[in-house]
Structures are given as structure tokens and as C-alpha cells.
Subunit: 362 residues, 2 copies
């Protein structure tokens, strides 16, 4: 039997329901003796608070929703961990919904969450999310913060510094002598895609080199796309000697293509990529990557949401956390390269840091 209600507690303790309610919520002073009695009976009866009833009556919740595509990427695990951890600390509950990076699913997911009376939302938007989903969010006038794929809007959002991160690894390749460095870019329309590509270009500019546009290929952010993109790079024209891959899924696809073509890494092709793999230093090729501070991003997102919840008028804030270059062997510099740290300012925010394998610096 779970049906221990406030009414039952009230009757048993010989007080009114409102007193019980106030004891629970600390929403008005209650005499010490009464309070103790209520607390005791609550404990005795095994009373549990029912958030749904509360939210119905009060119109608010301590539950927040998270809408993201976490099946498609390894990056999501740490993110969710960070979010959960911070939720715990803030005394909030988390409701999860998966979008699979599909706009329709996303709309349904958000609608669901909203229907479940979440008090706020964390959204890692899909590529073309604005249309319906954004409207939903705004119609319900629910506070939300955008994660990862930042928008050109005045909203609370937190993500990684894409441009500086990618520019530093690309510049590393250029610096150790590569002159034909390709880029496999993500899905069109994503801020991350745009910014990481910008980093790639910036690196060339810094070195006074011109980008050969034939070496810039879209991989659509998926594993299959990455595979195709790499295959295409290998097939057409003068092959690159190095490649920058814009996310983890595409990296796997690209590696698959390289393997199928019998090309060794880094021997015949240097590889650097965005997004780290937690097991990146165990398997070969050991990838040189930019690790996102996923855990911290998640935690910060919750903090941003909590802030907005308590102060709806606060100005919108955009947080950019620095990625961390994890230097391994796929770049082929054999430790002769520069310390990449000089390009990237690695600052890990003070929100609970997680170990992510052994980062080998050059």
C-alpha cells in the first residue's frame, strides 16, 4: 500500500492537513511540539510526498526535463552524468526523453516532458529544431536552456568552444608539415558544424595557407556519413595527408573507410578529431582529439536553469567551456610537435571534474 496521504497523517497526528502541508514545505511557522508530532507520524506511517499532486495544486515542480539525442553519441553519457549530479545537489528530479536527432521525435519528446509538468527544460536541439519545438517551449512559457548546439538567440545556453578547439588541432597538423589537411564536417545547420569548420579555416589562415575547398566534405554528423566522406576524399583527386573529423560518430565511420582502403593511421594518414572517446588510449589507432568537458557542460546547464527558475528576468547567458586537447598518436607527430596546450586554454570549471582516461601531452 502506498496510499499514505497527508490527510491520513493529519488525522493520525490530530492536526489539520494544512498544518501537515506547512510542516513539509516549511511554508509557515509551526509550533515545535506540533511539528515534532507531525514529523513522527509521517515517519511512522511511512508517508511519501506525491509530486504530481503537488504540481497540480501548486502549478510548479522540482522536476526538469532533458531532451537530447544521447543514443547517437558517446559524448552524451558524461553529459547526462553531469546533469544528474547537479540535479541531485539542487534537489531536483530529472525526466529524460530521447530525440534520436530527429525533429519529429524531438517535438513529441518536448511535448511529453511539458505535459508531465516539468518546471524547466534542458534541450540539446536537433539540426532544424526551431520550427515547432521552440514554439512549444515558448507557448508553455517554460524556462529552458540550450545545450551543445548553441543558437543565435538570446537564450541561456552552454556549450564547448568549438572554434578554438578545432583550430588548435588542425594547426598542429599544419605545423608538423602537412599541407593537404582535409575536413569532414557535420550536419548542415548545426552551430557546431559551422564553428568547427571555422576553426579549421582559422588554422589555415594563421599559418598563411589557403584551404583547398575540395578537401572539405560533409559527413552529416553520422557514422555512415563519415565513412562516405572519407571514401570520397580517398577516391577523388589528390589525397590528403591528414584529416580533421568534426565529431565522434563520423570519426568511427572515417576510420572504417580508412581501414577498408588499407590505409594506416597515422602512417599514411594523420587523423585528429573533435570529441574524445573515454577508451581512447586503449585501442589503436590512439586518436588525438579535442575532449569536450561534457560533465561540466551538463552541470552548468542545470545551474543556468536553476538561476533562471529563481530569477525569470535575469539576462540570457551563453557559456562556452574550453575543450581539452588530448594528444595521442593519430596525428603522427611522434611527440615532436609543440605542446598543444599553448593554443588552447584548458580551464576546467569548478563543478565537479571527471576523470576521462589518461591524457598524454606531447
Amino acid at each position: 500500500m502506498s496510499a499514505v496521504t497527508m490527510t491520513m497523517v493529519a488525522k493520525q497526528a490530530g492536526v489539520s492537513v494544512s498544518t501537515v502541508s506547512h510542516v513539509i514545505n516549511g511554508t509557515r511557522p509551526v509550533a515545535g511540539a506540533t511539528k515534532q508530532r507531525v514529523l513522527a507520524t509521517m515517519d511512522e506511517l511511512g508517508f511519501t510526498h506525491k509530486p504530481v499532486a503537488r504540481s497540480l495544486a501548486a502549478g510548479s515542480t522540482t522536476t526538469i526535463g532533458l531532451s537530447m539525442s544521447w543514443v547517437s553519441s558517446m559524448y552524451g553519457q558524461e553529459l547526462v552524468a553531469g546533469i544528474e549530479e547537479e540535479c541531485l545537489r539542487q534537489g531536483m528530479q530529472l525526466l529524460l526523453a530521447d530525440t534520436r536527432d530527429d525533429e519529429d521525435r524531438e517535438e513529441r519528446a518536448v511535448a511529453n516532458l511539458l505535459a508531465h509538468h516539468v518546471g524547466g527544460m534542458l534541450v540539446a536541439p536537433t539540426a532544424r529544431w526551431h520550427s515547432a519545438t521552440l514554439r512549444l517551449l515558448q507557448e508553455h512559457s517554460v524556462p529552458y536552456v540550450v545545450i551543445d548546439r548553441l543558437q543565435d538567440m538570446r537564450v541561456d545556453q552552454v556549450g564547448v568552444e568549438n572554434e578554438s578547439g578545432s583550430s588548435s588541432v588542425v594547426e598542429h597538423l599544419l605545423q608538423i608539415g602537412h599541407r593537404r589537411v582535409a575536413a569532414i564536417t557535420g550536419r548542415e545547420g548545426l552551430a557546431t558544424t559551422r564553428e568547427r569548420l571555422a576553426g579549421y579555416r582559422l588554422a589555415h589562415r594563421r599559418r598563411g595557407l589557403r584551404v583547398d575547398e575540395r578537401l572539405v566534405v560533409s559527413g552529416g554528423s553520422t557514422e555512415q556519413g563519415g565513412r562516405r566522406a572519407m571514401a570520397q576524399l580517398l577516391a577523388s583527386g589528390p589525397a590528403p595527408t591528414g584529416v580533421f573529423i568534426s565529431n565522434d560518430s563520423m570519426s568511427i565511420g572515417a576510420l572504417r573507410a580508412l581501414q577498408e582502403a588499407g590505409i594506416s593511421v597515422p602512417g599514411q594518414m594523420a587523423v585528429v578529431c573533435f570529441d574524445d572517446f573515454p577508451w581512447g588510449d586503449v585501442f589503436h589507432p590512439r586518436l588525438t582529439t579535442i575532449a569536450q568537458p561534457s560533465f561540466a557542460i551538463g552541470a552548468r546547464a542545470v545551474q543556468l536553469l536553476v538561476r533562471r527558475l529563481s530569477d525569470p528576468q535575469a539576462p540570457a547567458q551563453t557559456l562556452r567551456l574550453a575543450g581539452e586537447v588530448t594528444h595521442r598518436e593519430s596525428c603522427g607527430c611522434n611527440g615532436q610537435g609543440p605542446d598543444l596546450g599553448e593554443f588552447v586554454e584548458v580551464h576546467t570549471p569548478n563543478v565537479g571534474v571527471r576523470h576521462r582516461g589518461t591524457a598524454v601531452r606531447a
Copy 2:
């Protein structure tokens, strides 16, 4: 504004709330004309159903809860995907809570889910879950199904066939000539640990070999544990020539230890393990594994729950899905081994199958 209620729809359409309710739920016949009118006004006003109010009033929900530790394992992603997919098909919502394989967190997680009025629960229990959590579940008399770590109880549960799976890969090592095959086992108290170890023993028995107990080491199911276990195996006594590792996290740890010791796989050490990696055929060493049908397991779990929801008196059911041996190179048989398929009956249940990379059969 999100506050479009049934009452408003009723007034606008000139009917009573109960009619609106019945139109929505199809819970009693409504005249065609009336129904159309209600539907139209609902659409016009942008009405959204509020599940929390419904569950309060009806005492039931279409929301089910999932309590598991999915951050720690890659296996979890497919599982959740399978669960979600099936939930979608069954028209149910999913609430997620992470336990991090910690008993206290698990208790809180389950309590939370219960508090949110879930109509049923999916639980992938931690090692010592019975004490508090199970009681919670039963006190609330909520239907639940156990996933993965099956219990010795009469409850609905679904998991992989641990024993036959591990015995087949271990027997493979024995068959190609290994005589000192070690086992790195999981956390004590887990059914999976027990069963996978039993498979390891069974393989030896089948081949008429005795297990050297010094080669059986616990890795506690964690990456660190796997690393320590492997280090221990390498340090003490006569080293094994092959090893069976009981889950994915420990495999990563063990590989790390092997790498630190400068031991090549499969050259100096043959490796087989439970749990596959989605990217297992891209990186080296390419692990020979037993892939769990995670997606199917998730889907079946939902089906089991739905069945119990509709028929509380149905007899408890235990489902065992076959794992699939994914034969790659870490076993070192160089394709000379037998077709492992002859040991394992691979039957993929009819619940939506997912691609998981290219499985190379010997």
C-alpha cells in the same frame, strides 16, 4: 500560455467536461457531431492533455519508469533505445533515473519514479538491491520487470543467456589449444557474474579440463577492477595465455593493463569477452566478444510489463535471449577456429533488430 484545460474546451464547445474527457479517452460512445465539435475546439484552442492530472484522478498512468545504471556501460544505450522504441509503439511514456550502480542512489531513484506515479517499473538492479528497493516496489504494489541481472524470484525478468554465451567463447580458446585461460569475473552477488563464471567452468568441463582457481580473479565489474585483476594475473605465478573477461568496462581496464605491461593481443595474450563494443571492428585489438541483444532485451522488457499491466495475475515469466558471438581477432585463432555459431544458437527475437557493425564470422 499553456493553460488550456478541458473545462475551457467544454465551455467553448458547449458540452460538459465529461463529454470532452470521453472524447479524448474513447471511454464511452459520443455522437459523431458532438465529437467533431469537441475535436475541432480542442484543436482550435490548442488543448494539451495533462497526464499528471489524469493520473491523480484516475490513479493510473501510461508512464513507466526505468531505473538502471547506464552511464557506466555502452550496453545501456542500445537497451534504452529498445525500451524507448517499444514504449513508443505501446503509447507509453518513459521516465528515466540513473543508479550509477549504487544501492542508495537506486533506492532514491526508485522512490522518485514511484512518487511520479509511474504505472510500472523497469529495473536493472544493482548488486545488493533487495533490501530497501524491492520493498519499495512491493509496498507500492507497482508492477515491475527486472532487466539484465536476473533474480532468483518469481518475477517477470529478461536478460541474456550468460552461461551458454561465455562457455562458447571460452571453449573456443580451449579448442585452439590454450591450456591456461584466465577469467576476470564481475562484481560478487550479481547473477550475471555467477552465470558467466559458470559458463567458463562449463567450457572446461566439456573439454575435460580442470580450472586452475588461481586464474579466476574478480574485477568487480569496473574498469579499474579489470585493470587490477589483469595486473594481478600477470604478476602472480604462471601467466595465462588467454583470458575471458566478463564485461565491457573490465575489458577496457584489462586491455589497459596489458598495454602497460607491453603485452600484445592476441600475440602474447588471447582475449575474449562478454559485451560487444559498437565500434569493435574499427579499433585494434579487434575483440572477439559476445554481443548482447540489448535492443531486443529492452523491447521485450516493455512487452512483459505491458502484459502484466493488463493482466496482473499472469504467471511470472523469465526471458533469456541468446547472445551473439562476434568473432574478430583478439582470440588469435586466425580464422582457423571452428565456426562459433555451432555452439551458440543465435536467435534474434522479432522485436526490431539493430545493426551493430560488421560481425566477422570465422
